[in-house]
Amino acid sequence: MRDFLRPFGNSALARRTWLQLGLGGLAGGSLPGLLGLVQQAEAEEAGGGDQSTRRRPANCILIWMDGGPSHMETFDPKPDAPAEMRGEFKPIRTNVPGIEICEHLPKLAKIADKYAILRSVHHNQGNHGAGNHYMMTGAPPRIPVGCGAFVSFHPSLGSVAAHERSAPHGLPGYFSLPGMTRSGGPNFLGSEYAPFVVSDDPNSKDFRVRDLALPRGVDEARFRARRELRGLVDALPRIDDPAAADPVRTLDGHYEQGYQMVMTPEAQQAFQIEQEPDAIRDAYGRDPFGQRLLLARRLVESGVPFVTINQGGWDDHSELWSNLRKRLPPWDQAVATLISDLDDRGLLANTMVIALGEFGRTPKISTVSGRSSPGRDHWSSAMSILFAGAGTPGGQVIGATDRLGHAPIDRPLSPENFVSTVYTKLGIDPGKHFITPAGRPTFLVSDPTPIRELLG
């Protein structure tokens, strides 16, 4: 029960009630019909919503630190903790007085005025699969799931963004690089809203995007000839009457979109990372992660609303500090460059940059049996999130954990609050009401209260 957090007279609730008007008489009705009605009600509602949803919808680059980054070793250092909990790293000052972060994030420390740090998000899902699901969808998994699980009970942020928003030039609305996160799928929204996965490495010399670039052996002239030939051999008659809802016509639309993507210079340019000056590419870091962030910038520049960068390896049960000494500097460089680069181009005002994992890590240092070097284990009672852009007031820390990093002592926030904030900035009502194909009514977020400090 989280509903007691919802303020009275919440406009999201009012809107939700309105949306239901169209749904009352539709027991057992078709999904398209239901969704159509929801959209219709939405359209009638256009112009409603509170101030924050009226802002121009922002795009989002979500940097997923899979495995669960240690909050103490990133954005919530605990220098006063006793030795068995403190760890090997020290805090450093940032360019914002009073805000300190880990010493291995020096580049981010120089631009702390451009982002907010959330230190009080917490939940109760200590397994990777479950934690990922909760943070990626705003909904806890309905049944207990294990660490190895990749589960989906609810649509992910990116899939919802693709469902509610669209990208120009035939581009998909949701990209995930280099793979989908565990719970990054569309669930009941349908496969159309699954992420477009770019598994290819933009750091490699001959980077091409699967299915978006022409396949090897097919140049543009041949592609055009094939397209023409396809027209000649495509003999299946279409059913003209719209009442017949000919699925072949839907497929025609998909081919048109595909052709548009392949043949539209703007769409193709989004992937032409080689057009970036060397100085920019170097600034992001000449590694797959850095170049993926650069590619993400190009995608949102082209109008793609949601890009996830899924980076694994943050599950440091052992060798935490030696791992992070290697992992943090390039991460710091790439993320700081992304924020600065977006800012320089005037894009930060309309682009969220968010970095998080599924949970934080245990304040107590421990050694996994069989390992020599210690680390920290899963800890969902506290975690840190970096949140920049799209009107987010920078230079602030929201919430605080106790002296040891165990749990929030100020402004405890939920995953629901977090995803509601992202939805709000995307221009999507977090209180939106959906009917699943199974006929089950469901809300986008059970507690659609965004984090007001981030709304600006």
């Binding site: 009630t17 990749f150 989906s152 998909p172 799928g185 496969s191 299946l236 497929l251 009514p441």
Partner: protein
């Protein structure tokens, strides 16, 4: 126009009522309170069940979006649509330190203050302070908030009048709902009944019960619900216009399917489409019956065959092919295949083996289900037992069994009264009681490895209790009148005996319906596993006849399939005539479907002549033979095979997406196969076969038909184009053929 502004227009009398557990139908009902003859006499003593609960339901308080949702709203929980009077009474009177009802100062009651908007209420104003209901509520509180005294008549059932009949477009009929009480008395409860139409475009229903025929012809079911009781009013709107009697007389009748289908079409005044040509039938029959395309040789032979019975012969031959088992085992694998990360890889393979064996031997359906339901033994050796490894408690297995074998979605009734059915928790846990003595020996689940061997055993004890009352529930089948004999031994055997019996209302029908949908794209009951009064069959006569036939033929699936495929109905064209574009339920035309993921993957392998090499499977394994969706394949993922990580893991995505189009258009998967040196194109192009023969061969491979003369004329010049090789021309042609809907769809 904001909702709250709307509702505050004081001059309108508003009736807010819960509908379908989702939300509210709101309509202005001017002067309703005056007309409503059900308004109780203010002098009478209002009681909880008889007066207050219907009010809470009618005002939307216990709807699924408000206090009726699991856990309630803002700390105040009511049962969904009032299925649990006891709990609701507790919630109102006892919880919240008695603040909800202030018996000494009724006006101060939080319930009233919230509902009238006197204090902020997330759900807005639900009662006007001057409303009759408000006065009634006040009186009830002032009386001490009594429950119904013993002996007060209870609601027995509800009846809708008039008798159902067809509606013309635009015609309206006011429905009247009468509540029949246990003392035989009746009262008009229309004004406080919730109505819903399952097809509002065809027949709409207003909150006051007035039904209206829409502009689209078709059938609809109007549901009325009052205090947990449901009645339905099934109707249809025939298409306008005249069809000459000769047209009906000319329709062929191959078997009873046609007879009954035509009867239904005649009632709704829709003519079926023309039959398809041989090539379309051939491709459709191959894909539907055995999940693969005919080879060019098979296609050539069939098309050239002059025998008038060749379609029937084709059907019989297909049913004897080995691919038949894979195609139908895959259907069931979609339904029962667990996530191997959960149950273990050996158990997953073991279940797959069971399924393929069953269909390879055409195991009669009742025995097939019996093997699953009464399974015991090692999950490594008896694949059927794996469903119990995956579903480990009675309440987990019961939803699977009811949905798969009874066609009843019982999930809702686990936690609350089913919002559009008669089923409640007593039914759910009564059925679950058949599974209360399933036990386990050996190594249980330890995800993500779960490697151990486990056996399913039958225990001598174990009961299921009602979650609200705590009472031990005896096994009770869902619906129908099962013999109430005491159950001894394995309770599941008793359940199976009941399922098999000729009196079971849905066991055979659910099976027939599922198979039917594989051939026609939509079930007679749709969705195929959602049998309920409020979701009627589009052709009850036909479904009943098919179910009877299936049972009479000892549940022989092949004989049922042969019957279906030999009907004239199955061979109709997908193209519309002047009468049937709007028909999506009565099979007056064939409904186009995209090929399933495995079918299209195997079709590409067959057409290009280049097999896929799936990891962990022997070379040349077909996608239809894969036994776990963990086998990596980007192609199958893109085309929507079930994702074992989804919940449930069997959700198959059949729709077309732009990613699929891109994958065929630009993917290295198809391009690699088209241009392979070992493929069909290379073999055709390197010989000295005439271009015309190459074109014919590629058309036969991809489309199962020969190109028309016009098509040949259009395509052939490409082979002699400047700078074009035979190989490149053939590659381009095959690429083009496999990127069209004629290839991607079952037409």
């Amino acid at each position: 126009m904001a909702f709250f502004g709307f509702i505050r227009v004081r001059h309108l009398r508003l009736l807010v009522r819960a509908a379908v557990g989702v939300g509210f139908v709101i309509a202005p009902l001017s002067g309703l309170a005056k007309e409503r003859d059900t308004t109780p006499d203010p002098a009478a003593v209002p009681t909880f069940e008889r007066h207050i609960m219907p009010m809470l339901t009618a005002r939307g308080c216990n709807g699924g979006g408000c206090h009726g949702k699991s856990g309630g709203q803002n700390g105040f929980a009511l049962s969904l649509l009032g299925f649990d009077p006891e709990g609701d009474y507790q919630s109102l009177l006892m919880q919240s330190r008695g603040r909800r009802l202030n018996l000494s100062a009724p006006h101060e009651s939080l319930l009233l203050q919230k509902a009238t908007g006197a204090v902020p209420h997330g759900g807005g104003r639900r009662l006007d302070p001057d409303d009759e209901d408000t006065r009634l509520l006040l009186k009830w509180i002032a009386d001490g908030g009594p429950r119904d005294p013993p002996g007060v008549p209870r609601l027995s059932h509800i009846v809708i009048s008039p008798e159902p009949r067809p509606l013309e477009a635009g015609e309206t009929i006011p429905l009247v709902v009468m509540a029949h009480d246990t003392d035989g008395s009746t009262r008009d409860v229309t004004a406080v009944t919730a109505f819903a139409s399952n097809e509002p475009v065809i027949v709409s229903v207003q909150p006051d019960g007035v039904v209206t025929g829409g502009s689209l012809p078709g059938e609809a079911s109007v549901m009325a619900r009052f205090m947990g009781h449901i009645a339905t009013w099934n109707t249809f709107v025939p298409r306008a216009g005249r069809i000459h009697a000769d047209a009906w007389a000319a329709l062929p009748v191959n078997n009873f399917i046609d007879e009954m289908a035509w009867r239904k079409l005649r009632a709704i005044n829709i003519l079926p489409s023309d039959p398809v040509d041989d090539a379309t039938f051939l491709r459709r029959a191959f894909l539907d019956a055995i999940g693969r395309l005919p080879s060019p040789q098979e296609a050539r032979r069939f098309l050239a065959d002059a025998n008038r019975r060749k379609r029937d012969q084709l059907v019989e031959a297909l049913l004897e092919r080995p691919e038949y088992a894979d195609r139908w085992a895959n259907l069931w694998a979609d339904l029962v295949r667990p996530n191997p990360y959960r149950v273990g890889i050996k158990a997953t393979l073991s279940l797959d083996t069971f399924l393929r064996d069953a269909f390879a031997h055409n195991l009669p359906y009742d025995r097939f289900v019996g093997e699953l339901i009464t399974a015991t033994g090692s999950v490594w050796r008896n694949g059927a037992a794996v469903i119990y490894r995956d579903r480990r408690s009675p309440d987990e297995i019961v939803t699977l069994v009811s949905q798969l074998f009874l066609g009843v979605r019982l999930e809702c009734a686990k936690c609350h009264q089913h919002p559009f059915e008669v089923y409640g928790q007593g039914d759910f846990y009564g059925l679950a009681a058949y599974f209360s003595r399933v036990g386990y020996a050996g190594k249980g689940l330890s995800p993500p490895i779960s490697g151990g061997e486990e056996s399913v055993i039958v225990k001598t004890s174990g009961e299921v209790t009602h979650p609200l009352t705590g009472a031990v529930l005896a096994p009770k089948p869902l619906g129908g009148n099962a013999a109430a004999e005491p159950v001894e031994g394995d309770r599941r055997v008793a359940l199976m005996t009941w399922l098999r019996s000729p009196n079971h209302p849905t066991f055979a029908a659910a099976a027939v319906n599922r198979i039917w949908a594989e051939f026609f794209g939509v079930g007679l009951v749709d969705p195929v596993d959602d049998f309920r009064a409020t979701n009627p069959s589009s052709n009850p006569e036909l479904l009943a006849a098919l179910a009877t036939k299936f049972r009479d033929n000892a549940f022989d699936q092949k004989r049922l399939i042969a019957l279906i495929m030999k009907s004239h109905l199955y061979g109709l064209s997908s193209m519309t005539n002047e009468t049937n574009a709007g028909d999506h339920r009565n099979y007056s035309r064939h409904y186009r479907r995209r090929l399933r993921a495995e079918m299209i993957a195997d079709a590409i392998d067959d057409v290009t002549g280049v097999p896929s090499n799936y990891a962990g499977a022997p070379p040349e394994t077909r996608a239809a033979r894969l036994w776990t969706h963990r086998t990596g394949s980007m192609f199958l993922d893109v085309f929507g095979r079930p994702d074992p990580n989804q919940d449930p893991p069997c959700e198959r995505i059949g729709d077309a997406t732009v990613v699929q189009a891109m994958h065929l258009m630009n993917g290295s998967h198809l391009q690699g196969k088209v241009s392979s040196d070992d493929g069909r194109v290379a073999a055709l192009a390197t010989g000295d076969i005439a271009p015309e023969a190459i074109v014919e061969e590629l058309y036969l491979a991809a489309y199962s038909r020969l190109p028309t003369d016009a098509e040949k004329k259009q395509v052939l010049p490409m082979f002699s184009r400047e700078g074009m090789t035979r190989r490149a021309a053939a590659e381009d042609l095959l690429w083009a053929l496999m990127n069209t809907p004629e290839f991607i769809f079952v037409n």
